[in-house]
Structure formats: structure tokens, C-alpha cells
């Protein structure tokens, strides 16, 4: 099934049950608004897509800048190469496609043409992770963080909400090297504040605490905050870090968490084999014994069964309650 068709099958709309009383938003809208705003200011901004004008939210961009929207059709390998060629002419290409097709189909192009060649292209992995719910594992991309993290020379950004998505788009346009942005489709509440600024290679401290640290990315950030609230009720003060940048990795923040708190829980809508949790584990594993604190890595370990995004997040243990349980387990069993 094409991404367009996938987009029309509204499998994941509606609000998150974890925070039914809080408004939630699709990050793609913020992505599209910011891209359009930048394009009005800077004529070097172009968008490239694989027939995903609708699902990448590029309809308004095409209306306003028809010449600067390059739709190469359903051909991801060519799409990524085209992005590299455009960048070599001083243009700033945002190459947009559903994350499974962008990162899997064109992985060698991402490696050779973008990361190794250092063409400053912005790869936009739309509707990542479990966003396509019932459409199944062919349309899921829990692997994208593992694959991209294996490549040197490319930033990986996972914005947690609307504001951070805007900031990520603007930062990537200014950055002289390649960036991958994971643009979420599953609706999430706002978690950052008016004054919070996305800083390259830095986790954002959303909540202070000295008992344990929860490091979460994307969809899981709001759930981590709810978990921290529930933990407080039982007397546990949890530090919550928003891992918007997976690469470069905020090693200092991870070390600080290991030295200053008694356990760490990571949570992401991704495979545990090479994403945020694996990155954190590799830092902690190299620390001296007293700082090698208990760690729980929450994420996916197998292909998803049939179900909505919400259902699958529950299935894979990625609810606020699961974060609470993992935290309590880490604190009590080490």
C-alpha cells in the first residue's frame, strides 16, 4: 500500500488515552508550517518527496512554491540521491517520505550520498515508529533509529512536540551537515515550554529529581512525565530528560544521571537493539562500578501484531504505567 493510501486510512487519529484531558497534536502540521515559513524567507529551501505530498503535509508548500516541490514519484533511492545533488548546488533540501521507506529502501544512499559524502540534506522520516498501526510492520519503522545511529556524520533528531518540531526544522536548515528528523504522526501533547530551546546534542531536563532518571524520546516523553508524576505519589523523585537529539548523544547528561540518581529507565517508540536505550546502555557500561546503575530499556523487540498505534504502544509496554513499573523494578531489584 502506498503512503498516500496509508495516510487516508485513519488508524491512529484521536487522542492518546494516557492523557485524555490534554489536547494533542500531530507534529506533521508543525513541520509543514515551519517549512513553509522558512521557504518564504529563504529561496534555497526545497522539498523533495516520493509521491507523499499529502502524507508529508506538503500540499500548502506545493501550492505556494510549485517549482520548489520536487516529487520524484515512488522511487526512494533516486529521491535521496536527488537530495544530495540539490544540496551540492547550495540548495537546502528537505527530503520527505514515510520513515520506513526513506530509511530502509534508501539506506545505502543515506550512507554513501548523504552521511559519507557530507551533503547537507535534511532527511524527514514522516510517520515513524508505530504510526501506521494496523497497516503492519512493513509500514512501521522502529528500526530507523538503529540504522541511522550506525552512520557517522548525521544528526538524529526526535522532536517531542509541536514546538520542538518547529525548532528542529529551523535548526536543520541552518546546520551545515546532514540531519535526520523523525516527524511524528501519532498525536502528542505539548511537553516543552515557551522558553525551552532545542540545543544540538543536548537532552532537555523537563523535570528535576534525584532518585532515578527517565530518558525518553518523541512519543514517550509525555508518558515519561505522567510516570514521574505517579512516582512522586509514592515518594520517588524522577528526573525526566527529553532526548530530542539521539545523535550527537548527550553523554554528559547520561553520566550525570548515572552518578546522581540510583537508576535509569529509557523509553522510545523504537527497537531496543540500537536506538536511544542502546545508546544510553553503551555509555553506562563504560562507567566505573558505582555509576553503573540499574537500567531498564523500554522499546520493541519483535515485529508488531495487528493493532492501532495506541494499542501497540500498550502491547510493547510503552505506557506511562509501564514506565512506572520499570522504574520501581529498577529501584527495588537493581
Amino acid at each position: 500500500m502506498s503512503t498516500e493510501a496509508a495516510n487516508m486510512t485513519s488508524s491512529t487519529g484521536g487522542s492518546n488515552t494516557v492523557s485524555a484531558d490534554v489536547p494533542v497534536y500531530d507534529n506533521r502540521a508543525a513541520f509543514a508550517d515551519e517549512l513553509l515559513r522558512l521557504a518564504r524567507e529563504d529561496e534555497r529551501i526545497v522539498a523533495v518527496c516520493n509521491d507523499s505530498v499529502g502524507s508529508s503535509n506538503l500540499v500548502a508548500f506545493r501550492q505556494e512554491f510549485p517549482d520548489r516541490l520536487i516529487n520524484v514519484g515512488i522511487a526512494e533511492q533516486n529521491m535521496v540521491g536527488v537530495g544530495a545533488g540539490l544540496a551540492s548546488f547550495g540548495l537546502i533540501p528537505f527530503v520527505c517520505a514515510a520513515s520506513p521507506f526513506l530509511t530502509a529502501r534508501a539506506l545505502e544512499q543515506i550512507k554513501a550520498d548523504i552521511a559519507y559524502s557530507q551533503h547537507p540534506v535534511i532527511l524527514c522520516g514522516m510517520s515513524p515508529g508505530l504510526a501506521y498501526g494496523e497497516l503492519g510492520p512493513t509500514h512501521h519503522s522502529p528500526e530507523d533509529l538503529s540504522w541511522l545511529r550506525a552512520l557517522p556524520g548525521i544528526d538524529i533528531v526526535v522532536p517531542a512536540d509541536r514546538r520542538q518540531t518547529r525548532q528542529a526544522v529551523a535548526a536543520a536548515a541552518r546546520h551545515p551537515r546532514p540531519t535526520f528528523i523523525r516527524v511524528g504522526r501519532f498525536k502528542v501533547p505539548d511537553v516543552t515550554t515557551e522558553t525551552s530551546r532545542l540545543r544540538r546534542g543536548k537532552f532537555d531536563v523537563l523535570r528535576g529529581g534525584d532518585d532515578l532518571t527517565i530518558i525518553a524520546a518523541g512519543t514517550l516523553v509525555s508518558r515519561a512525565l505522567i510516570a514521574a508524576e505517579r512516582l512522586r505519589a509514592s515518594g520517588v523523585e524522577a528526573r525526566v530528560l527529553n532526548a530530542a537529539y539521539i545523535a550527537p548523544l548527550d553523554i554528559d547528561a547520561i553520566r550525570a544521571a548515572a552518578f546522581e540518581t540510583r537508576a535509569i529507565v529509557t523509553a522510545e517508540e523504537a527497537n531496543v537493539s540500537g536506538g536511544l536505550g542502546a545508546a544510553v546502555a553503551s555509555v553506562i557500561g563504560e562507567l566505573p562500578a558505582p555509576a553503573r546503575v540499574p537500567l531498564r530499556v523500554l522499546g520493541m523487540r519483535e515485529f508488531a501484531p495487528t493493532g492501532s498505534t495506541e494499542f501497540l504502544l500498550g502491547h510493547f509496554g510503552l505506557t506511562a504505567e509501564d514506565v512506572v513499573k520499570a522504574a520501581e523494578d529498577a529501584l527495588s531489584h537493581g
Binding site: 526545497v46 517549482d67 520548489r68 520536487i70 520524484v72 514519484g73 522511487a75 533511492q77 533516486n78 529521491m79 535521496v80 540521491g81 536527488v82 537530495g83 544530495a84 545533488g85 540539490l86 544540496a87 551540492s88 548546488f89 547550495g90 540548495l91 533540501p93 545505502e108 544512499q109 554513501a112 550520498d113 559519507y116 559524502s117 557530507q118 551533503h119
Partner: protein, 292 residues
Amino acid sequence: MLSTDHAQVERWRKRRTQLAAATPDQRRELLADTARQTRRSVVRMIRTAGQGHIGGDFSVADILTTLFSYTLRVDPAAPSARGTDRFILSKGHCAASLYSTLADAGYFPVRALETFMRPLSELNGHPNRTKIPGVETNTGPLGHGLPVAVGQAMGARLTGSDTRVFVVLGDGELQEGSNWEALMAASHFRLDNLVIIVDRNRLQQGARTEDTNGLEPLEARLRAFGCEVRRVDGHDFDALIEAFRPAGENRPVAVIADTVKGKGVSFMEDRVEWHHKVPTPEQTDQALKELA
């Protein structure tokens, strides 16, 4: 990053001026001499490095010579400057030929060629744009150069530049599907500033292309994908110059250059094993004698 050899750039500029004013006979002779020097350089580099892809280096040598000594509007002292043409060697394994050609034009000092594939050399077995001026994108895995060239041709149009983009593909490389994605886009977007050159030496690593996964009828296929197809003898400088002229129609040009793998050295010509065989000291002497 290697740096420009300005004295060599001057010598190259002088030769280009000579070529532009030469009679057809003089022009052929000058280009043949340059190509011969490239092949001699390749033999020495591969002999010293103990590895390389000599057969394909030789089939593409006359194409590279024609482009860099005659056709391309480039400035080795300012690669990728606005208004200059762009070149991509998609068959990146033939780096020795490319490096020799770029050094001859002064993109970097000729003596750097001695470091080919040595530890920490800028001159890897496949070209790297972050280390070598004149290299537009890192190639090596096949099927990557044409999509990037398509993006460059689009970029030239979007930025109002009259740049022409030239890309050389190996023929076996056309078995990669990404090329056909790119060809569809090149004709759909009517990229008449793009010249796709196929080094049609009919051999790939292990066998003849037609015994592996046949490309013929190649002309008809490229035409069906929307290209203006020109078929020439890839060792005939006059024919190559003619084939590299701007598009006659509002679509990309595909030049099928019929070549001989190992061209120039009798015992290497059209022999599949010389895809990446390394000459012995005796074979090296013999090859240099034939290329004298």
C-alpha cells in the same frame, strides 16, 4: 583535503587553449597523448598499490580525457564554482583514471598520485568529495551517481545556472534499479542539461554483461526511458566531442560509448580477468612499452 596545484592548472589551461585552436588532426594527437599519459599513470599507481581496477580505468580513459581536456567548462582552481559544469564518475572503482585526470588538470598535485590507496591517503580506492577537489559525490557502490547527477541538473535549473552535468556509468552498473528510477525522473523533468555517458565495455567483474544480466537492446531501452541516445566509438575523440554537444531535444542525452575494457594494452584488451588483476613487474614493463 588536497589543494590546487596552480602551476599545473596553468599548464592544463595552456593545453586547452591549444586544443581549442588546433586542427582536427592536431586535436586528436594531443588528446591521444593526454590519454596515453593517463593510462601510464594508472599502470604505475595500480602496480605500486598492488590493487585497482585497471580494465575499466582503461576503457574510460579516453572519455575522461575528452571531458576534462576539451568539453567541460571547469576551473580546477575553483571546483563547483557557479556557472561551471559538473562531473560525476558513478563507476567509482575506476578512481585511478579519475585521479590521474584530475591531477593532470591541477585539481591537486600529480605527486599525490603516488599515495594511491596507501594508509591515510586522500586517494582511497573510491573517490571522496571531502578529500579531493573536483569530486562531486562519493561513489563506489554502483547505481549512485546518476540520481545525484539528476539532483544537480535540477539544482542548476532551480538556481538559474547554465551548468551542464555529466555522469559516467559503467555498463554493468545499469543492472542497478536506482539508475532506472533516475532515468525516469531525468526524462520526466526534461533535464536537457544532463549528459549520461555509458562506458559500454561489455564486461563486468566476472563475465560479459550479456551472459550475466543482459542490457541489450540498450539503445532502445534508453530511448524508451526518454533519452536522446547517441551511440559512438568511445575511443574516437572526434566522435566523443560530437556526442557531448548540448541536447538537441528537450530531454536528457544518453551517450552509449562503445569501449574496450583494458584498451591500450594488448594482453588486457577485452579480457574479463583484467577487471581488477594487478600487472606483474614484467607485465608492467610491457604495458608501459605499449603505452609509450
